[in-house]
Symmetry: C2
Subunit: 386 residues, 2 copies
Amino acid sequence: MSVTAAKGFTSSGIAAGIKDSGGADLALVVNQGPSRAAAGVFTSNRVKAAPVLWSEQVLKGGQVSAVVLNSGGANACTGPLGFQDTHATAEKAAEVLGDAHSAGEIAVASTGLIGQRLPMDKLLPGLGTAVAALSPHGGEKAAIAIKTTDTVHKTAVVESPAGWTVGGMAKGSGMLAPGLATMLVVLTTDAEATADELDAALRAATRTTLDRIDSDGCMSTNDTVLLLASGASQVRPDEAEFAEAVRAVCDDLGQQLIRDAEGASKDIRIEVVGAASEEDAVLVGRSIARNNLLKCAVHGEDPNWGRVLAAIGTTDAVFEPDQLNVAINGVQVCRGGAIGDDRDKVDMRYREVRITADLAAGPESAVIWTNDLTADYVHENSAYSS
Amino acid sequence: MSVTAAKGFTSSGIAAGIKDSGGADLALVVNQGPSRAAAGVFTSNRVKAAPVLWSEQVLKGGQVSAVVLNSGGANACTGPLGFQDTHATAEKAAEVLGDAHSAGEIAVASTGLIGQRLPMDKLLPGLGTAVAALSPHGGEKAAIAIKTTDTVHKTAVVESPAGWTVGGMAKGSGMLAPGLATMLVVLTTDAEATADELDAALRAATRTTLDRIDSDGCMSTNDTVLLLASGASQVRPDEAEFAEAVRAVCDDLGQQLIRDAEGASKDIRIEVVGAASEEDAVLVGRSIARNNLLKCAVHGEDPNWGRVLAAIGTTDAVFEPDQLNVAINGVQVCRGGAIGDDRDKVDMRYREVRITADLAAGPESAVIWTNDLTADYVHENSAYSS
């Protein structure tokens, strides 16, 4: 499973001492080839962590031989010295991995508290331990080592009957780029694909999956999603089938992220239909997903559809207020912008809550996932520095 | 005090039975003249409550003889029937107030749950009771009758040595237009001023006060701020002095709203300096104010400045990430986008927390106020339908 489900990859996860807790905090994923083609998508936050700035440069070459990931520190807002730490990490990894590797093909990803330097005296020696622990069965351990406030580690895999595999791991328990419980995702495949083909498949996949998860509206400085291809299956996949496999793995990991969001007791699926454009549908979906009053109401199992309309009304999407329709868990509580069916008919006892907002303005639609807002979320994000 | 501090105004606040609790829920403010000049600003939410749609029409005429305000129901998302209810309220008020009044000069404001019709069988008879209770000392009772989740009623007054007065009342305990704990503000003055002069003073005042309070990022369907002039002082004020008096009353009421925000334990003053434009400063201030992770951190008295940078980074304001500076309660915790002074020096024990974000991109600035995010906020907005 995980990043070692596809042939041609080894990985490991170890405790280097970066986390005060002594838990696993350093993961290594190595592409044994024959190909090293790779693609990546990164946070669109303009304040980018040092490892994001580094890895963006690496990915421009279209080749990645290894990925170093650490939890226990985001290495964000650490200035030129923080960037030197990332550079030193890639150099040291190349050194211990041996002759076939160079720092310029080694991506780095970090997650944890913003605004603190990493303990390089622990991280650099840890790389030697991580290389020694590399295994074609190391995927689970790598997935465990990148956890921060995650309560479970997240992996997914799709195997094609054509003989190739896409697998991956993710961490994140806030969502679409929470300031710290950052989304880090590494996907691997043994299919034969060029960097451009990987890039196209990855961008298409994340656009409708990982990019439409919005747990708390906060955008990370560290978000990183990588796709590495070893070509070890020696199979060149059908383009559409490969794109769908990458999408399915991203979707699976995204659902695991939502289900493990900090303090959440409800997963909220917001489907916007009847939109004039997909952009409008996403805009309205995000506005609903970020409405704290609605998120609290859902936590209280209160089908407070007025919050949905108030959220829609803050956008400049195409719609007429007296044409809006809202359904919660299948009950049409708002019709034509006014009172619809009896809200007491809405059953909100279960974890998944479905909100459908119909803009009655066109044929386009989009789905955004979010969570409820709970006292546990407040506690997790206020009781200790994170 | 309140709306009866200025000469020429009477008001009342009574229990009409709109609220199930039996508390005061209907307020009336009457301008006895000689002038009836008035101005108003309303929510920019495109989903507007029936009383907002009605009052916007009334204010186009530039004259308001009376304002009817009710708590216990927002009359939002109630369709044509809800608009008829507002119309009937204005007609009934004109009838019981007598010959000098017409419905077209009576503004209406409502606050409470969205998506429910008002109990007109209680509201309409209540208008007779409210007219009978009108008094030149009725300002406090009116301020009490418009409370929803407010824990205290809010009033303010400025008296000019030149012989005129500006006074007012406000309700709201979520902020800049929370879905329900809507901001309703009525200001009165006995100065002589035209509708256009009132409009200019009110827009200038709210732009830098009530419009820069952002408790939970949610925008109401019902926000209404009115300024009524009776001219009863027979004094034509100096333009600048009058503008400053209106600004001061709005600022005072705004501060009272922030201090009474739902579940809040901290008032957060966000000052953005060094901005290329005032728009940039407001944009960045709002982004910081709406960051749930930062609001939780402040609740936990954690000077987590990384959250501030992550929030700034989501905007398209003019800045360079490595030029950003952040101070919390006077300690420069971030300098040049990286680690500044020791965060342990920040004392966050007191209710007011001051965050200064320097974009190092120009001479402009703005102040936005918000609150921390607490378990009490979640409780207030999830434990019952509101």
